[in-house]
């Protein structure tokens, strides 16, 4: 399954890159992309673990950039 999110308030390109690396390492994530220019996060997961992944991704984003809010696209 593939899910798209908008990262509101994403302000730094390096943070975006770090979020991407961290989310990619989560269990069950096949591919994750954080696009700084369009402020989008796209997560592709193996199967059935999306709620957990989303929760973890939210935690990672908050940690790296506290002002960014993850919203469903």
């Amino acid at each position: 399954m593939k899910k798209k999110f908008i990262l509101k308030g994403l302000g730094c390109a390096n943070c975006a890159a770090r979020m991407e690396t961290a989310i990619c390492k989560l269990d069950g994530v096949r591919e994750a992309t954080v696009n700084f220019m369009t402020a989008r996060l796209i997560i592709e997961e193996e199967e059935g673990q999306m709620p957990f992944i989303v929760q973890e991704a939210e935690r990672i984003i908050k940690k790296i950039e506290p002002d960014a809010v993850m919203k469903k696209a």
Binding site: A13, N14, A17, T38
Partner: protein, 631 residues
């Protein structure tokens, strides 16, 4: 953004005042500088504190806070505040540039239709394009955007397709024309039958493509983020050693001197300039290309396109128009020698040619074969069915019909042989249609595909853009392939290929390539999907109608012009050049400043330039990528 600007200006003003008061009044100076610092940097410091609590150490805010506070502690007030001030200016500028380029790309891609006019109970109402179904009738008034793909039922108009194709010349549409969503209706009112739902319509597919394009990252972008991942921690660790070790190991070395040097390291260690400049360039390049009607599926394809050295073309529909036209009417010797003194010889010949075409068109009247369609189109006048009697279609051979009480045979050489009629044999590219009147050979009509107007100049432009070799693959015969290849100056042409052979031939060509150079295949996308997918870069032309093309291709060119390929390559090269200029600029300047400040040759000011100055320069340079109008 205004508020931030005012904050910076106020802080800068106080900073200037403090600098003027100078060393004479220690306390006033300290108070003013502190005030300036607080105004300029309180948010950075609080963010840094918050991030440390969350276990986030190598964060920009933290680095800047340590660098500036450190400068304060060793008594370098003006520089400490200046670092913070300039850092804020850089951030402001960066946000401004990013917002600007986001906005300009949103404008370029502003093709989303807001509503569709549909009839409900005999009244025209506006509904969301999402709600319209296939087969519904919609009305598009002058000035409105075409909301869904469809076919015109009624009305004439001009459509502005520039938002889709980058093409400034409007397209004429009338009853029966297929129209694409996203165009703007310029003058008349047209009634349209919807042929695709909104989700499947051109406009949503383009938006989808462009939105996802920047998700596939280029190698240069991956390189720079990986670089940043090691660069920042490494520089920070060196900074710590630099502050502590020399004063302990070297006699006469003072802590404040070496701490000052290490502060430069902290300032230079910020990775953002590096990381932002690359995606910003690609974003601009992809956006600029879309505005020219070239859709790339990602930054990685822009990169591959810049490295392309060989291009393989499909012939029909790519280099040629894919529409058959009467090229030549050739009269048999007996026909052309029937002289009549009252006419000029050329006029007479032309008249006889017209007559021959007229007979052929009438004989083929009931056939739907593409060849008969092109004959009728070339004839151009109305066909009077009363003149025709007794038609018989001889499959694989041609047509026998009686027109104006004359027996007409129209077909290939097999038909002529079947009736024992001697005919002219000529090696020409295209399809020959022989005509016999009352079993007498009258001549032939040559029907062939036409080379596109811009094909010749595109090949020249491609060579100029660094393409080394051009190839052509076609299912057509040798003569037709040879003629096109020669006319266009292609390096190699392979004829008589079945669709499956094309993939094999492509693989052959690819095997001879050096590994670094890339090969692009260009096709019209209708039956080329496997080849498009197999090439390093598949370019589909005019492929908006074909789902398979969009699926299989990496780059979609919205118009039919092969010259757009050269444009795409030029855009790709420019984008890549800009991205690497930025990478080199940042790496070289930062390394130089690191070395110089380690030896105490440059002051903190140089570090500020290496960070903020380089960011600003890189961003300004990236913005050039968006400007591709003249490429």
């Amino acid at each position: 953004m205004k508020k931030r600007l005012w904050r910076i200006l106020t802080a800068a003003f106080i900073w200037a005042a403090a600098a003027l008061i100078g060393q004479n009044q220690k306390w006033a100076e300290f108070v003013l500088f502190s005030g300036s610092y607080i105004i300029a940097g309180w948010d950075i410091v609080t963010k840094a504190a918050r991030n440390i609590v969350r276990g986030n150490v190598f964060d920009e805010n933290f680095l800047m806070s340590i660098a500036t506070i450190g400068a304060f502690l060793i008594g370098e007030y003006p520089e400490g505040v200046a670092v913070m001030l300039f850092y804020q200016i850089g951030e402001l500028f960066q946000d401004y540039a990013v917002n600007n380029s986001r906005k300009s790309i949103a404008e370029l891609m502003d093709i989303r239709p807001d509503y569709a006019n549909v009839y409900k109970d005999n009244e025209l109402i506006q509904v969301d394009p999402d709600e319209v179904k296939i087969g519904d009738t919609i009305v598009i008034k002058a000035g409105e955007r075409v909301p869904l793909d469809g076919r015109v039922l009624e009305g004439n108009s001009l459509l502005d397709t520039s938002a889709l194709t980058g093409e400034p010349v409007p397209q004429e549409v009338q009853e029966g024309s297929e129209i694409l969503s996203g165009c703007i209706n310029i003058n008349g009112v047209i009634t349209v039958k919807v042929t695709r739902e909104y989700e499947q319509s051109t406009v949503s597919r383009i938006l989808d493509l462009v939105e996802n394009a920047t998700n596939k990252k280029s190698r240069s972008e991956r390189f720079i983020t990986r670089f940043a991942r090691y660069y920042t921690p490494a520089v920070v660790i060196i900074a710590v050693f630099l502050a502590v070790l020399p004063p302990l190991l070297i006699k006469d070395a003072s802590f404040s001197d070496w701490i000052y040097r290490s502060l430069s390291f902290l300032v230079v260690s910020c990775p953002c300039a590096l990381v932002i400049s690359v995606p910003l360039s690609f974003f601009g390049g992809i956006g600029g290309a879309s505005a020219r009607g070239i859709l790339g599926k990602g930054g990685n394809y822009l990169e591959a396109l810049a490295r392309t050295e060989r291009i393989v073309f499909d012939k029909t529909g790519t280099l040629t128009k894919g529409v058959f036209h009467v090229q030549k009417i050739h009269l048999s010797d007996t026909e052309s020698n029937m002289d009549d003194n009252s006419y000029n010889k050329n006029d007479l010949q032309d008249m006889r040619k017209q007559e021959l075409l007229e007979l052929a068109a009438h004989a083929e009247h009931f056939s739907n074969h593409p060849i008969s369609l092109s004959l009728k189109q070339a004839y151009g006048r109305e066909i009077i069915p009363d003149r025709i009697s007794d038609t018989e279609e001889i499959s694989g051979h041609g047509v026998r019909a009686v027109v104006d009480a004359k027996e007409i045979l129209v077909g290939n050489e097999k038909l002529m042989r079947q009736y024992g009629i001697p005919y002219l044999e000529e090696e020409v590219s295209g399809t020959i249609v022989h005509i016999a009147v009352n079993r007498q050979y009258a001549g032939y009509i040559l029907i062939a595909d036409e080379i596109k107007e811009d094909a010749l100049s595109s090949i020249r432009q491609l060579k100029e853009a660094g393409i080394r070799q051009t190839f052509m693959l076609t299912g057509d015969n040798e003569a037709a392939a040879g003629k096109v290849a020669e006319e266009l100056g292609l390096d190699h042409a392979y004829a008589n290929l079945l669709p499956a052979d094309k993939v094999e031939k492509l693989e052959d060509i690819m095997q001879q390539l050096p590994s670094k150079s890339k090969l692009a295949f260009v096709g019209d996308g209708i039956n080329d999907a496997p080849v498009l997918a197999r090439a390093d870069i598949g370019i589909a032309m005019g492929g908006l109608g074909s789902d398979a093309a969009i699926e299989a291709a990496d780059v979609v060119i919205m118009t039919d012009e092969p010259s757009k390929i050269a444009t795409a390559i030029r855009i790709a090269k420019k984008t890549l050049r800009i991205a690497w200029q930025n990478i080199n600029l940042a790496v070289i300047v930062k390394t130089a400043v690191l070395i110089l400040s380690a030896f105490g040759i440059t002051a903190l000011w140089a570090a500020i330039f290496a960070d903020v100055g380089v960011t600003v320069l890189a961003i300004l340079n990236s913005l050039r990528a968006l400007n591709v109008k003249t490429l």
